[in-house]
Symmetry: C2
Subunit: 213 residues, 2 copies
């Protein structure tokens, strides 16, 4: 599959690496094409670089791996017409780190970044997932507890969620909980507040939660 990955940070590079390893063709997008080309070089075979718009136009499906605070601007640069009708997998977290560690989740009650993105790009099919784990776990869930831990996913379009689920399963995710429509992203993003404190206490970002019943 041809997939656009917006963002050249560690999240973008990780997702791009995971996707090419599974045989997908990836174009990484950045504000500056040169920066994306550099990231693509690190990812290696199957990856190329370009502007945000290049990457979005390239992808049959697009990953938003930009920082939560700049995500809407990056997606504007990617261009609505390059996102229309496509599954847009949003991995970003709306965090404000300006007041020290841990950063603060900036959502107002009853809101989420994913829903703001959906509102700004009504023809994209936004799916929220993968924002609840560190990059060390995202594309390698089997590294922890033989993969016996939980991923969450939500979105308004069933077909888009099925596409995203296929990618998650290709990464090795075995326990993906579909939280329903995109308002499920409120809880998924809010959870970062707990995740960040746990990271501090556990002294590692390489952990996750499993649901027990």
């Amino acid at each position: 599959m041809k997939i656009g990955v917006l963002g050249t940070g560690v999240v973008g590079e990780t997702i791009a690496s995971g996707l090419v390893a599974k045989g997908n063709e990836v174009k990484i997008g950045s504000r500056e094409a040169a920066k994306a080309a550099e990231a693509a070089k690190k990812v290696g075979k199957g990856a190329s670089g370009g502007t945000f718009a290049d990457a979005a136009a390239f992808g049959e499906l697009v990953f938003n791996c930009t920082g939560g605070e700049v995500a809407l601007k990056a997606l504007e640069a990617a261009g609505a017409k390059n996102l229309d009708g496509k599954t847009l997998v949003d991995v970003a977290n709306p965090l404000d780190g300006s007041k020290g560690f841990p950063p603060v989740v900036t959502n107002a009650p009853g809101d989420s970044l994913a829903e703001r993105i959906q509102k700004a790009f009504p023809k994209a099919k936004v799916v929220k997932t993968l924002n609840t784990v560190n990059t060390s776990v995202m594309i390698a869930p089997q590294k922890l507890a033989k993969g016996e831990h939980a991923m969450f996913l939500c979105g308004n379009d069933a077909g888009a969620k099925k596409q995203a689920l296929g990618i998650l399963e290709s990464f090795g995710w075995k326990h993906v909980h579909d939280l329903g429509d995109l308002s499920g992203a409120r809880g998924m993003e809010a959870y970062l507040g707990l995740w960040l404190r746990l990271m501090g206490v556990l002294k590692t970002p390489t952990f996750n939660v499993q649901i027990v019943r």
Copy 2:
């Protein structure tokens, strides 16, 4: 130990039941003493009822089991002088159910109910815990996965946290993660947004998370 339990809802009754089962003496407090007396009768031996102030004055330690939206008013009725110097275990969640299910966590970014309580009652030693599970799990963690799942706790006073931890351990909690100072309550309360969606998907409130690393 003599313990005051504020709130006659299912949380208050559950906590009171758990506490008397472990040999503590409990006074349940309510706006109306008659309602508390009724709740105490249900809890049985070791429990009595009274006003919020009666229960707070009685306890060497006090549990806040009132609804999050009325907690500050209930604690005002309990009276600062009856809380001064005491461990105040806050189990409440700041939820607004007025717009349907699931309710919305009402905290502004970077805030929590537990911190608002601490600010309003600076001489109480507020500890946040037990708000992340249903009453079906609170005092009986062994019911799920042989108790192999996580509880969280935070607060500004080490001695108060130790007291709360003792109670958690008496209930059977084996994996209690100390999230540090009371600002850890932001994540613990925010997590409710995820918990509520999961409850809808799992179709049961009787679940919890375990940390895997």
